[in-house]
Structures are given as C-alpha cells and as structure tokens.
Symmetry: C2
Subunit: 393 residues, 2 copies
Amino acid sequence: MRYTSFNPPVRTLMGSGPSDVHPRVLTAMARPTIGHLDPAFIAMMEEIKGLLQYAFQTSNALTIPLSAPGSAGMECCFVNLVEPGEEVIVCVNGVFGERMKDSIERSGGVPIVIADPMGSPVDPNKLEETLRKHRDARLVAFVHAETSTGVLSDAKQLAEIAHHHDCLTIVDTVTSLGGSPLKVDEWGLDAVFSGSQKCLSCTPGLAPITLNDRALDKIKQRKIRVQSWFLDLNLLMGYWGSGKRAYHHTAPINTLYALHEALAMLQEEGLEHSWARHQHMHRALRSGIEAMGLAFLVKESVRLPQLNAIMVPQGVDDAVLRSRLLNDYNLEIGAGLGSLAGKIVRIGLMGYGANMKNVMYCLEALEAVLADMRAPIQKGVAMNAAQNVAVLN
Amino acid sequence: MRYTSFNPPVRTLMGSGPSDVHPRVLTAMARPTIGHLDPAFIAMMEEIKGLLQYAFQTSNALTIPLSAPGSAGMECCFVNLVEPGEEVIVCVNGVFGERMKDSIERSGGVPIVIADPMGSPVDPNKLEETLRKHRDARLVAFVHAETSTGVLSDAKQLAEIAHHHDCLTIVDTVTSLGGSPLKVDEWGLDAVFSGSQKCLSCTPGLAPITLNDRALDKIKQRKIRVQSWFLDLNLLMGYWGSGKRAYHHTAPINTLYALHEALAMLQEEGLEHSWARHQHMHRALRSGIEAMGLAFLVKESVRLPQLNAIMVPQGVDDAVLRSRLLNDYNLEIGAGLGSLAGKIVRIGLMGYGANMKNVMYCLEALEAVLADMRAPIQKGVAMNAAQNVAVLN
C-alpha cells in the first residue's frame, strides 16, 4: 500500500477534548525543532514552568509538563506517592475516579473507595467519615472536575478535611485547569495533574503536574524505589530542575512549543478572565439547550461550564446524533462514558473553543439534527442507528 | 513575568537526536487538530500501523506508536513482558543497556547482566554461555544500535541464540529504525521499541513498538497484572486494535500527523535506499574526519553510519568545542554519555539530516573551531572551558 500525506477535515471540536486549537498554537508547533539540551530550549522550559505556576496558581518549584498525556500524569502521581501496601482513600464519582482506583492498585496501594453517583460531586461528609475509620491512610485522591459527567467537586473543602487527618491530596484537574477556578497553593492541594488538550487549548500529549514540598517529602522518604523509570520524579527533576540539566529522555520539543504558546495566551487573557469567559459561554449554551427542552445531567450549582452533559432525549439514538453532527456539520461532541453511555452527550466549551461562534453553531446544528431525527419518530417510523448511518454514507 | 511567543533559533541538528525535521513533517504537525476517536483519525492510525510495519519489516498486528518518548517504549516492553521474580538476561554495552537493566529491576525482574565495553558490540559467545547457566530465563534484552557509542550489535545472531534457548528477545532499535538494516520478522525479534526523533526525522515524543504473537502470548499468560495503566498493552490494543475502538487515553494527534508524514516520506524514498543513503553520508563524513586526523571510537565493521562517536583530541575541551559549534555555527553535535563524557563527541547523520549539505557544513565548522582552539594550546596558553564560554558570551 502506498500512502500519501494526511489532510484532516477541519472540525469544530466541542467534545470532551481535544478542544479547538488556536492558530497561534498550531503555528508554534511547526517552528524548527531544536535539541532538548539546547540553551535556548532550556530557557523556554523555564518559561513554561513559570507559566504553569501561574495557571495552577502555585509557587511549587516542581511544576512541569510530563512528556505524555494526562493519564500518564495521573500515573506519575500514584507511582511516586503510593508505597506498596499503603491504604489510599479514593473518591469515585465517575470514570476518572475509577481510573485512579485502578492506578492505586497497580502502584501496590490498597484503595479505600468512597463512591458517589455519576453526576454528583464528591461528598465531603463521606470523606470525613472514611478518614475517621482509616487512620493509617496518608493519601486522599479525588477528581476536581469529572470529565465523564461535567461535575465540579469542592477541592478546597476536600483538601481541608484530608489535611485535618494528616493526609496529602492527589487531585485530577485535567478538565479544570484554565477553565474553572483552581488555586493550588491557596487550597493546599499537594499533588496535582492535568492535560494540555482541554481548557489550555493546546494539542494533546502533555501532562502538566505540580507537587508541593509535603508531597516531595513523602517521595523522598520512600523505602521502595519508584516502579516506573519514565515517571520517576527524582530523575525527571534532574532534567527539569534548575542548575545543571541531566539527560533523562528526549522531550517532545515541538509539542512544548505549542504548550508555551497556549500558556502565553492564557497569561495575555488573564486567568480570571478565562474562567469568566467559560462561565459566560456556558450561560449562552444553557439558554439554548433549555429553550430546546433538553436537560442537563448535573445541577447548576456544581456544573462545570466547560463540560456540559446533556440528557439524550427519549427515542434519540446518541450515536446517530453524534454521527450526523460530525458528518453533516463537521462538529464533534462527546459520547457518554461508562454507565452513562447512550444516556448523555457531552458538549465541551474549552479554552479557545469557548467562544460565541461555537456556541451558536452548536445550538443551531443540534436543533436541526434533532428536529430531523424526531420527525420520522413522530410519524411512527422505526429508526435505528444502522439505518441512519447508512443514510449518511 | 510576562512571556511572549518563543521563536527558536534555526539549528542544524547533528547530535544524537532529535535530528533535523523535514519541512513537510513540520507542516503536517500544524494541521488542524481533530478528535482521537474521529473516523478520519482512526483511518490515519491504520495507515500509521501499515507504515510502521513497513519500517520495521514486520507483519505483526501489534505495531503502533506509543504516546510517549522512546524510553517509555522501553519501559512498555519490560512492564508487559517481565513478571516479578523472573530472571532476564540483559546485554549491557552502553548507557541504554544500563537503562534496560534499571527498567527490568523496576518491573520486578532479576537482571542477569552480560557486560561488554562501551564501543564494542554485544558478544554472542557470552550470551550463549550465560544462557547455558541461567536455564530459567525466558527473556533476553539487548540494544541493536547503542546511541551512547554508535556501535551496532548483530541482532539476528543474538536472537537466534536466544531462541535456541527458548527465550524471547526485547530489542532497542531507537537509533537503527530507518537508518540501518532492521528486519524484525526475518530476524525473529519478538518485542521491539524505537523512537520517532532519530532516523525517522519526526519530532520527538512517540515510541514506535512492535510485538509478535510469541511476545503477546507471554503477556496473556501473566499471573500478575501489568504494573502500569498507561503502558498496559492489553488496554492499548483496545484503542489501536482493529474493530471498535475503546477510549484509553487522548492520543497526541498532531505529533501523529508528523509521524504519518515522516513514515510516508520513508516509504517514498524506500527503506533500502534510506539505509544506503545513511551509509553513503557516513563515508563522506569519515573521509573528512580521517583527513583531519581524528579517530572513531568504534571500528568500521560494527560502526553505525548514523551515529559517529569521534575521539576528542588531546588538549581539547569537548564542552568548549560543542559550545562554539552551537553558538558560532548553530550546529548541534552530541556529548559523550556516562564514562565517555568528555572523551567523545557524537555526530549524528540521521534521517533527513543525513544529507551532503550537513556533512560538508559539519566538517568545515569542526575544522575551523578545532584549528582555532588548538592555536593557543600550541602557543602554550592554558585554556579551560570556563574561559572559553566566557569569551563566547
């Protein structure tokens, strides 16, 4: 087989990420590659650290992007902080909480699960109760912004409870960073990971992380070596730390150009302004969604503006809906995950993608496709996914 | 601090990687981002699998790029194939063999080290002897092309010996893929990993891997779950396998555009032609190096054309040499690693960078800087790195 250059279709990305990437960020990616130990590159790494400290609202020295996706950022926190046999409290209210539980087990830890329904935030009372029962636990893990449901948990309150019981926190901020208020130092979050492809509007492939001194102390006191060479923070700090840089791995140079540009744009806009813009765009979307008679999964007070889980109306096949939006409108929205598969769709308003043009386009397209899909149902004609997809092809 | 867009200097990359990236590959990176489950993206993933099969000369179904650098490709092979307590034979003749040993230990394995000097290939006789002594071992790991020294080991022969003793092979081809003959199926290599940023001339950040059915069978028979969620091949195949794609992590979309383009260019050129071009450029470089009175670390018969380890002449500080080439000529060459630090420099001729313009430029620049550096020495003036760097600044 002979293959030629790949020219992707131009989509509007309003799923759960990747989000629309700004032309400035794409342009930055295409700049000439330089070496991972080049003084010019090292100067840029320092700028990225500073910009990430701003985005995370922290002064943690260990604030760096890992050379892998957000899920590797999660694994990095667990393999470094969890020691074999250690109990770890994990709050599960969606797919990404489940994933944390899995990662704790693989790191040799013993997960103590606090379960809340999908679409609800983590219940602080349950955390308090659980910590009273499990006095040996020194780690509490939770998701700040659950990407599978679009619910926000109160990271500040959860961290307070954890600290009161002498526990450190490991916090998933993949979907919140840049889109919702997140104040790592003020809230005392100890080990925090995120992704590049959501509200930072960078291309996927990098996992910003930040760890404070309490977290680093726990790592320094480990009795057993970190099980991953690639994610061992002791080694990574030799490359990303200040002073003489020791070669660890070859950094993804051009993707880091993109992250630098995306973070510089966030700084230009201002973090508070970005949070407000996400909220503003959510309100615009909400008006249209409610006017169409559609319902949100998550109640307004704990709903993420940047990830809108919308109930699929009775009689509508979500796969057909998404397929029509993609094929007829070049518009990507997200499917439900786990037990919500088929029951919700997820509309992302993330980073650069959180703009009025996207909101209005999405509402118009959604209304048109739903009207078209409901028409035959109202006429009593049976529809199924396969037939619809066939019509599209 | 306010940060502005980063505009890298335009370097000539003739170190140990990343290598010069072709403008077509940089352009591909900047194409619009689409979703990781977009049908158009999945079609491109299939093409990447086919193109990697060609580059590796294999028909292995599990032939994919991991969403992380080459060193994560190494770790992926070990965490999936090594079971805790298992003896693993590892051939160490350089820094990357050492790294394999480390990764075996972290995966819970017991490394049995076969040591050869840096600059020498792996000795097949030692492998044969060791396998006779360690009859329980089922895995043999070695580096095909040692990036720290530029020496080629006989992968075909080593694999034959390993198979004769009922062992599977784990092979580092980070520096050989695309640049030197590598025939995964014909040589019977079982689990093979590489990197995107060497002779493929793609940007860094991806680790092509290929595993045959024997290797997959060993993974299927594991008694203990793979310790990494991110690198668990059972999960990765749910995303990269054919059939319905299960979401695992968000793939680094734009970097995969770049890899697709780089591999399509390799296919256009033809693999054998690429191997011959690397050899041809090496011969051109060698003529100039020898004419300058400089010596190679590795003897000609086992020398990698794409990575030339050159002995630093007496009285020359390699840090000053490299710094002058970078600052005065925008030319990057590599330093020595491990025990060879300060003793060698490494000149890469990799992928797109293996061209006559680079060879001639490098020789001219090297000659000019060395002549300049030696002049004061000949006059009896003491020089040291700090002084020279100060002059540069």
